[in-house]
């Protein structure tokens, strides 16, 4: 059982293949999801209803409180000074003027900062939250351009900001590698989540060389930043030996544990809450500002509020790394793939473990006879890059799905037909059966709804005034994930129930959907269920990432629910209508339990509790290990359709219509789900047309650290986006649902690029597709 307590060990064990093979061959019923969640069959209850967000009134009235909105007694405000070199050491750091400036309480540098252990970097432990493992303000070393070198604490934000501008730093620079091309020759095989980013099936090069039709092209994607509108912020105090953080976080438990490691205190002496998060997308994990604020609060003995400036977010919170991807496709004359080769290069840093895994989507999308996938990465002296919405798939599908479009043209085949012809029966690499795969349904429904038949296959053939109009499509895909560590507390009272789990609501609609699910599971009205989250004291270690929260919470609540029924049966007594029935034979409905085959035999929870003299029952259930991931190939899919117009004079590209047709299992709440799908697609439009973090390769400095120079789509860039879905439950996941937070960004950039090709005849393989590439 030791392996079960160590999820990292589990994953590594899986990587070695032994356990994976055993799980793959095990009977379905032994695996989580092998017996379908009973909720899948419940079609007319709370699940699947378009319920408005339960936190709506607080958010639209501005009363939802975010991390920077918790004033504390005697609180001081922090401002950070950032390095201006990429590598070397601090020679002088003149802080006297800052120290003497009005309102300044303390200036923290490496000279007086509390001694700290380095942050545990992601995946070094199941609860590790650090974006990198560099020591935080512990010595004079500089590792990237923009590294914090001093923190000023003052009575007001204006005083802190001004004093920070009075600090003078000088540096001794050392040679730094900040240019991708310079590092190219040092590329090494990349690993992701402890596994090599390399797959082979058959002899792909040989198959390619003998294919009737071949496509071979290189695609490039730049760096990106998450750019959640809420600035990263933390309000911190040391209260009676407890480190208290009001945070904006997508991993409260990880952060509590990691800060405990850094400060040498037990994790239960760190309390992290994050009731509202103003957008995450992978960017609201643990970075230096958490550590600096906590260290500064310790140093000055007062609570600290640290709100990063927008520039500060770019200087110390990593984003998505750049990629250079080569895709080679070989097909027979009918369009059946003989070879699929997808390989290339990305960049990370020496202190993190996150090569952008752009081949992930290519593992399971097409039934190619031979496959070769590979990521190599180089190490640059930059701020550590990190996860950003659909790491891997977002940019990987741009390359793969652009290449598929190029292949369709070479074959004179409709691009949808090409994709359907290469639909696999089982997972192309692992050979595992799919848990549920209805992408062909999604393609057909999407094509019909979008009016795909009106597309001319001849590029440049449709013009409306100054505008060239075109249509394109692409496959989007994202896996079903469920990470170990899910646990939920379920509390039943005569008035209703509450769920407590250290999960997160960053706008995905998690709280609303989980209230619906729990109400349905317990047979309660929606307003009788509360959902508590965003608090490290709650059970579970749940990352809001990998689109896995719905499954992780769902599995934990299923486990807790099972315990709850058991506890209820322990107290039900002989006077109950349920006397003599086995727990397995009951169902929850009408605020109580009934016999599944005889619903008239029913007793309310209130009655059961009252008879037993209990005010409440509280249970905590743990989700099983996610063995289903080794038993089935589990993926969501989307058929993306785009119509663009490109100005024939100026080259300006504008998306005029977009439709996403999704196969993501059961949709729990169509209202919030539609918004998740659209949100991903809109970030995908940004990825396609405008987003780029510009790092000056001479010195590794981000040169557009602002929302005016880093363009994200504005209202005018966003047309009405249609989203439809198959709504076919996955029989092997909690509630029949698969995560939906990330899939929208996948396939979108390729759909846009393919539409632009259809409009103009210009194939742009470098993102973003700005007008200069279309002149």
């Amino acid at each position: 059982m030791s392996i079960a307590k160590d999820p990292k060990g589990l994953i590594q064990g899986a990587a070695q293949g032994l356990m994976a093979k055993a799980v793959a061959l095990a009977p379905d019923a032994w695996v989580p999801g092998g017996v379908p969640d009973p909720l899948i069959g419940r079609q007319h209850g709370h699940v699947g209803r378009a319920v408005s967000r339960i936190d709506g009134p607080l958010k639209v009235s501005g009363t939802a409180r975010f991390a920077a909105e918790f004033p504390m007694e005697h609180m001081v405000f922090a401002a950070i000074l950032f390095s201006t070199i990429a590598k070397g050491r601090i020679v002088t750091l003149e802080t006297a003027r800052a120290q003497a400036a009005q309102g300044v309480v303390e200036v923290m540098t490496h000279r007086n900062a509390p001694r700290l252990s380095p942050p545990p970097v992601f995946m070094s432990n199941p609860k590790a939250a650090g974006g990198d493992n560099l020591p935080v303000m512990q010595d004079d070393r500089i590792h990237w351009n923009g590294q914090p070198v001093a923190v000023v604490l003052a009575e007001t934000q204006e005083q802190a900001n001004h004093a920070a501008s009075l600090i003078e730093a000088t540096y001794e620079t050392e040679p730094a590698i900040t240019a991708f091309d310079e590092a190219r020759s040092h590329a090494r095989p990349a690993e992701f989540m402890g596994e090599p980013l390399h797959d082979e099936k058959g002899k792909a090069e040989t198959a390619l060389s003998t294919s009737a039709v071949r496509i071979d092209a290189t695609y490039r994607t730049p760096r990106h930043n998450h750019n959640a509108i809420e600035l990263h912020a933390v309000t911190v105090a040391w209260q009676d030996g407890v480190l208290r953080l009001h945070d904006a976080s997508q991993l409260v438990s990880h952060t509590a544990w990691s800060l405990g490691q850094i400060f040498g205190i037990p994790e239960d002496k760190v309390l992290v809450t994050s009731p509202y998060v103003g957008g995450g997308f992978g960017g609201k994990c643990m970075w230096q500002h958490h550590v600096l604020a906590a260290a500064a609060a310790k140093l000055c003995g007062r609570p600290v509020r640290l709100v990063l400036s927008r520039e500060g977010v770019y200087r110390l919170v990593g984003g998505r790394s750049l990629t250079e991807q080569q895709v080679s496709l070989g097909a027979d004359a009918d369009g059946r793939l003989k070879a699929l080769i997808h390989r290339g290069l990305t960049a990370k840093t020496p202190s993190n473990v996150m090569p952008e895994p752009f081949i992930l989507a290519s593992r399971s999308t097409y039934a190619a006879e031979a496959i070769e996938l590979d990521v190599h990465s180089v190490e640059l002296d930059l701020l550590a890059n990190t996860f950003m919405r659909a790491p891997g798939e977002s940019v990987g599908t741009f390359a793969l799905e652009s290449a598929m479009d190029e292949l369709a043209e070479a074959l004179a085949l409709d691009p949808i037909e090409l994709r359907i012809r290469n639909e696999p029966d089982v997972d192309p690499l692992s050979g595992l059966p799919f848990s549920s795969r209805r992408i062909v349904d999604a393609w057909r429904a999407g094509a019909e709804a979008f009016g795909w038949s009106r597309r001319s296959p001849t590029p440049g053939s449709r013009r409306e005034g100054e505008w060239l109009v075109g249509m394109g499509c692409a496959t989007g895909t994202y896996p079903y994930y469920r990470m170990p560590g899910g646990a939920a507390r379920l509390t039943l009272t005569p008035r209703g129930a509450s769920v407590g789990i250290a999960a997160h609501e960053m706008g995905m609609g998690t709280a609303t959907a989980q209230v619906q699910v729990t109400a349905e599971r317990l047979g309660l009205p929606i307003d009788a269920v509360d959902f508590h989250y965003g608090d490290s004291r709650l059970p579970g270690t749940v990352l809001a990432g990998g689109s896995q929260q719905t499954a992780a919470i769902g599995a934990a609540v299923i486990a807790a629910h099972r315990l709850l029924i058991k506890e209820l049966f322990d107290i039900v007594g002989n006077d109950s209508p349920l006397a003599g029935i086995k727990p397995d034979d009951v169902a929850c409905r009408d605020a109580g339990l009934c016999v599944r085959d005889d619903p008239e035999r029913h007793e309310t929870y209130a009655s059961i509790l009252a008879r037993a003299g209990r005010a409440s029952i509280e249970v905590t259930g743990e989700g099983p290990l996610p063995l289903e991931l080794m038993h089935w190939s589990m993926h969501s899919h989307a058929a993306m359709f785009c119509e663009v117009k490109v100005n024939a004079i100026t080259g300006e590209p504008r998306v005029t219509r977009f439709l996403g047709s999704f196969d993501c299992g059961r949709i729990l709440n169509p209202k919030t789900a539609a918004s998740q799908f659209r949100g991903g697609i809109i970030m995908g439009l940004g990825l396609a047309l405008m987003e780029e973090t510009q790092v000056d390769e001479r010195n590794g400095r981000v040169m557009n650290p602002s929302l005016s120079e880093y363009h994200v789509p504005v209202h005018m860039d966003v047309p009405e986006i249609d989203v439809i879905w198959t709504d076919i439950p996955d029989p092997h996941t909690p509630m029949g649902a698969r995560g939906i937070g990330e899939i929208g960004i996948t396939g979108t950039a390729a759909a846009v690029a393919n539409a632009i090709y259809n409009a103009t005849g210009k194939r742009v393989r470098d993102l973003p597709i700005t007008l200069d590439k279309l002149l």
């Binding site: 958010k59 103003g278 400036s309 927008r310 009405e720």
Partner: protein
């Protein structure tokens, strides 16, 4: 020295560096107005000054002495929502909720601009006596309010549903 915030007088800060945004958030603890960039690039800090939408991050509080400022707290409360706030919930015009107060204040200012006949970049006929209240106009006029979650469609729907129901807007249709 004072200004009127949501109908109540407030003393203007002594330090002229304090932005209207920080004054609202840090001094008055009116946290509904959000800081997303502090550089005039995102619109999260939008408030109404004498009914006109402005960016409170680029405004020094002292400049607004004697003026009347309305923030999201003055638009409606969680228990007594303005109809636009209700429409944002109904049409799901937000996810994380951080840009939302700015979007709502901006939309209220925008509706007034359309009523006054202020044209926009996408207005075909600058001389038209009334301005159209269509989705394209809303998109252009709301483009100063970024949303990163991607709730744009819901925002536009909520605004259209709210103000299209008003008599002035109906006349402009």
């Amino acid at each position: 020295m004072s200004m009127i915030i949501n109908g109540l007088p407030a003393e203007v800060p002594l330090d002229p560096r304090v932005s209207l945004l920080d004054f609202l958030r840090d001094d008055l603890r009116l946290h509904g107005t959000k800081k997303g960039c502090d550089q005039g690039a995102c619109g999260a800090c939008t408030v109404l000054a004498d009914g006109e939408r402005i960016l409170s991050c680029l405004a020094l509080a002292v400049q607004y002495e004697g003026r009347s400022v309305t923030t999201i707290e003055g638009v409606g409360t969680a228990t007594e929502l303005h109809q636009l706030q209700q429409a944002f919930i109904e049409h799901d015009g937000f996810q994380c909720g951080y840009c939302t107060p700015g979007q709502i204040c901006s939309a209220i200012g925008m509706a007034e601009e359309i009523r006054r006949g202020v044209p926009s970049h996408v207005t075909d006929d600058l001389d038209a006596p009334t301005m159209p209240f269509c989705a394209e106009e809303i998109r252009e006029r709301m483009s100063g309010n970024l949303c990163r979650c991607g709730a744009h469609n819901g925002i536009v729907e909520a605004i259209a549903a709210t103000f299209a129901a008003l008599p002035e807007a109906e006349a402009a249709e």
